[in-house]
């Protein structure tokens, strides 16, 4: 990592994955969950029904969470404690105003040593942590999705590379 030149780093900081089923989405999430470290923050954006919660289920599985992961839209944040690290699943869909984040302890949680995943995380761009992975899901067909994952910050870049390496070893139709 440390020997990497600036230009290489730029190219590697964004990756694209073409996905063709919900199962593959979950599998992709699982790889990121397995590689997550304390403080990892995944910011998800994409239309209604793009598969953000689906991806989150995979991340949780990768962390070893045993509870059932469901859409956190109503409660806005859901905590899962059964995995290797605390998993904080946010959904900012219902929120329209920045101060509502304080209600749910957003600031304290994302600075915490768990793993945070934020659906509709692009809603308040000014309030994202310094280091995060931006996961953009584009609907390309009824079951087809394109995932664009962009690292912001050193720690996330490291995570992204690790996941890319792990995925490279699989022949699951994921291409980096």
């Amino acid at each position: 990592m440390s020997r990497m030149t600036e230009s290489v780093r730029k190219v590697l900081s964004t990756m694209k994955f073409d996905i063709s089923s919900p199962e593959e989405t979950a599998a992709l999430g699982q790889v990121f969950g397995a590689a997550s470290v304390p403080g990892t923050c995944l910011v998800l954006c994409g239309d209604l029904g793009a598969g953000k919660t689906n991806f989150a289920k995979g991340v949780a599985a990768g962390l070893g969470v045993t509870e059932a992961v469901v859409s956190p839209t109503f409660n806005i944040v859901q905590e899962y404690r059964s995995g290797r690290l605390p998993f904080y699943h946010f959904d900012l869909y219902r929120l329209n105003f920045e101060d509502e984040l304080e209600q749910i302890d957003y600031y304290a949680i994302i600075e915490d040593e768990g793993v945070s995943l934020i659906e509709w995380g692009d809603k308040f761009p000014a309030l994202l942590p310094v280091d995060y992975l931006l996961v953009t899901i584009i609907i390309t067909g009824s079951a087809a999705r394109t995932f664009e994952i962009e690292a912001h910050g050193e720690r996330s870049l490291h995570l992204l590379m690790e996941c890319a390496a792990a995925l490279g070893g699989q022949s699951s139709g994921v291409d980096a």
Partner: protein, 797 residues
């Protein structure tokens, strides 16, 4: 006088118990300060209890409570204030608010520091709460009012102003210490700045006591009314702030919801640009003789809009504006600029309601005083203002046309609460206002004037209604009081969590006192006191934690101080017990289908209090699916009622949407596939240039939901052999779902209990019913219990 002081508005838990002497001096009996980030709710009451015990005192020894009201973390400060309200309400002692920053300033003073200093607490979102002080021998003197500011701006200002040594402290230094250092460096004043060490950055129990005594000596304490005490927010909620910005620009339409509700009732809302001509007309009508002041012209009103320090509210009925009131916040004081009511609507209390709204917003903007002028011969207005706690301060001669003098009246914020109206309300169908919300009691009062213990008070704040009820040991409800915030949220097109929590904090004392009062009358014991009760039941799950903690913290304070048992209640169990309030002889085993914005589950109630979750949704809840489909269609919020109305005239077989999990062989649900299918369908139709038939789409979507719900509910009934079925949750109001369930269930010989349409929303009556059952089962909780976003009712709690 023994005083308890507490503060949880920052990450520090600060507590003190002190004896305050008549001369304003104090003697500390015990203090407890510890960092408790995100643990205030579980740590506060147990620590108060330990503190009191360490001094050999019981709760009843307290003569007064002082509580830090921030500024700080909104949730943190609400926990402290709600707990303090519970304690003061139970003991009938005064509760005073103390500025958290002043308490830190007194701590700095106590450390021996003399000279200029500033306190900056972290306000999150890249901002701080700054206040400047100078410290003389007698104590710190505040130089600025409470506000919220960007660290780089405030640090530059302080650096530029600095003429001598300056100490900066507060928990904002953790993030922004370097910003202050850089600002002083840039001014070439690095040698003047000292950044405080650990302890001086946090509020302490002793600091609170010192700040209290100082305010008391200077006669600057607030009224001590527990119901009126509010957190110091220093800003409106973002929702309100945004609304003001929007309404200052012409293009934005007024909220349709508010207008619809306006028919037949008076509604209050902030002034918007399109109101200006009507308000100017109200002004002309109100000041027709020109004798009591000048009417505001359209131009003057226009100029007020969008100014950050101005607050204007209007009252309208049936779309017509009948009154308005404006205020200007300068240096911590709100100056009432204008109160105008059309002549035919005077003496209805409209002016009072408007002045209260303006005063309320002013408080959020950091004002602590209110001042205004009134004609010396206008005795009615003067009477109103004295009722609000204002006092005559002087005369401004020849202020009004015709040489009439103005009487200047001023007072503290928050304004005194109105008690007259509440006390006068007759038992049964009481209507009064708490914090601007209409309060109603929905119990049909029968004559049951013998007290059957246990008497249990129930409190519910899990969503957007503040509710309290009182039940007796025989299961009779003696009050079921609810303050609805719907008027506040309707303005924003949906429940705004931050506003819900603010309103709970404002309404909790009034609602709980009303529930006690009404129940006392009903029981033929108007003197009924909180101490006569046996337990307090409170919703602790599931829901928005920020809202739940307000009810829970209040319940803990009240239960602790009155020595009552504390009972936690799961809101979902409440929905199951609600069936018993409708069908009194309903008995388990029964199947409950709970469907709301946050839940979709089939529960097998084997006995009261013993549940098995047979199946839940794997992804989205039913209410959530309705809301999201409505949103995708651009139909607004809440989606359920809108779609079901459209569906009534549509063809449910027009579009074949997937029935997910219909044949999965289990009782689980999945709705995300249906959501995605509907959205995909909408997109495809739009791309093909075909117009959508909204009614057919809504009917087909709704049918797909109902088919699965009904089929699984039937399977559950067959599997378990239950002969009773009940429905609960917000989606229980869906007419098509109700009809389908009733039809299919009754065909199987199963009795169906459906909540009345009005009871689909949340009330405390059902929480009280669960509370009683849990009381009988001996399920009590300690004061360190917490609010949970999620709970599983199949696990005993």
């Amino acid at each position: 006088m023994i005083i308890l002081a507490l503060d949880t508005s920052t990450e520090q838990l600060a507590l003190a118990l002190a004896r305050v002497h008549d001369d304003g001096g104090y003697e500390l009996l015990a203090t407890h300060d510890e960092p408790a980030p995100r643990r205030a709710n579980t740590q506060l009451v147990p620590n108060i209890d330990t503190l009191m015990a360490s001094c050999g005192l019981t709760a009843s020894a307290l003569d007064r409570v002082a509580c830090g009201r921030g500024p700080g973390s909104f949730t943190g400060v609400r926990i402290g204030i709600a707990t303090a309200k519970g304690i003061a309400t139970g003991l009938h002692v005064p509760l005073h608010g103390i500025s958290t920053l002043d308490a830190i300033a007194w701590r700095v003073h106590a450390s021996g520091y003399r000279g200029d200093f500033g306190v900056v607490d972290d306000a999150m979102r890249g901002e701080v709460y700054p206040v400047r002080y100078s410290s003389a021998e007698k104590g710190p003197v505040r130089q600025t009012v409470d506000s919220v500011a960007k660290p780089d701006v405030i640090s530059r200002m302080w650096a530029e102003d600095a003429t001598g040594p300056m100490l900066v402290c507060g928990d904002g230094l953790k993030k922004y210490g370097a910003v202050f250092a850089a600002a002083f460096e840039a001014c070439g004043k690095a040698d003047l700045l000292t950044l405080a060490e650990d302890d001086l950055n946090h509020v302490s129990g002793e600091g609170l006591v010192a700040a209290f005594c100082d305010a008391s000596k200077k006669n600057m304490l607030d009224s001590g009314d527990a119901g009126a005490l509010l957190p110091l927010y220093t800003r409106l909620s973002d929702a309100e702030e945004n609304e003001r910005k929007r309404s200052a620009s012409e293009s934005v339409p007024k909220s349709g919801v508010a207008d619809e509700r306006a028919i037949g009732g008076l509604i209050l809302r902030p002034l918007s640009r399109r109101d200006v001509p009507s308000v100017a007309a109200v002004e002309r009508a109100a000041f027709i003789d020109g004798a009591s002041g000048d009417a505001w012209s359209e131009g003057m009103l226009e100029d007020e809009l969008g100014r950050e320090d101005r607050i204007w509210w209007v009252a309208s009925e049936g779309g017509e504006i009948v009154a308005c009131c404006g205020g200007w916040v300068v240096d911590g004081t709100v100056h009432i600029l204008d109160v105008a009511v059309v002549p035919e609507r005077r003496n209805e209390g409209i002016a009072e309601r408007l002045v209260r709204r303006v005063a309320h917003d002013a408080l959020d903007l950091g004002a602590t005083r209110i001042t205004l002028e009134v004609r010396v011969d206008n005795k009615a207005a003067q009477a109103l203002y004295s009722k609000l706690g204002l006092e005559e301060e002087g005369i401004r001669p020849h202020y009004y046309p015709g040489g009439i003098d103005a009487c200047i009246m001023s007072g503290d914020l928050p304004l005194a609460r109105s008690t007259g109206a509440r006390r006068a309300g007759a038992a049964g169908g009481t209507r009064a206002a708490v914090a601007g919300m209409e309060v109603r009691d929905s119990v049909v009062h029968v004559d049951t004037s013998s007290e059957v213990h246990p008497l249990i008070l129930a409190i519910e704040t899990s969503c957007d209604e503040t509710a309290a009820a009182l039940i007796d040991g025989a299961g009779n409800l003696h009050s079921d009081v609810l303050a609805s915030q719907i008027d506040f949220h309707a303005r924003f097109g949906g429940v705004v969590p931050e506003i819900a929590s603010r309103k709970h904090t404002e309404a909790i004392v009034g609602v709980v006192e009303e529930a006690l009062l009404v129940a006392g009358r009903d029981l033929g014991n108007p003197q009924l006191d909180f101490r006569d009760l046996d337990a307090i039941a409170v919703t602790t799950r599931p829901g928005l934690v920020g809202a739940l903690v307000v009810g829970l913290a209040f319940a803990k304070g009240l239960a602790w101080v009155c020595d009552l048992l504390l009972i936690e209640v799961d809101h979902l169990e409440g929905h199951i017990y609600a069936s018993r309030l409708i069908t009194p002889d309903i008995e388990p085993p029964m199947i409950a289908l709970l469907v709301s914005g946050g839940h979709t589950m089939l529960v097998h109630a084997k006995a009261w209090g013993e549940y098995e979750i047979l199946g839940e949704t794997l992804d989205d809840a039913v209410g959530e699916a309705f809301d999201k489909v409505a949103k995708a269609l651009g139909l607004g919020y809440p989606g359920g009622p809108i779609l079901s109305k459209l569906a009534k005239d549509g063809n449910p077989r027009a579009i074949d949407f997937p029935r997910a999990m219909l044949h999965s062989g289990d009782l689980k649900f999945s709705l995300s596939g249906l959501k995605t299918a509907v959205i995909t369908y909408i997109r495809a139709e739009e791309e093909a240039g075909r117009a959508l038939d909204l009614r057919d789409l809504a009917a087909s979507f709704q049918q797909a939901v109902i088919d699965v719900q009904v089929a699984k509910a039937l399977t559950a009934v067959k599997q378990t052999g239950a002969s009773e079925f009940c429905l609960g949750g917000g989606v229980a109001a869906n007419p098509a779902l109700r009809d389908a369930l009733r039809l299919k269930m009754e065909k199987q010989g199963v009795r169906v209990t459906l909540p009345s349409l009005s009871a689909c929303t949340d009330n405390a009556g059902m929480i009280a019913a669960v509370g009683l059952a849990r009381y009988d089962a001996g399920r009590f909780s300690s004061f360190d219990c917490d609010a949970l976003a999620h709970g599983s009712i199949d696990v005993a709690y």
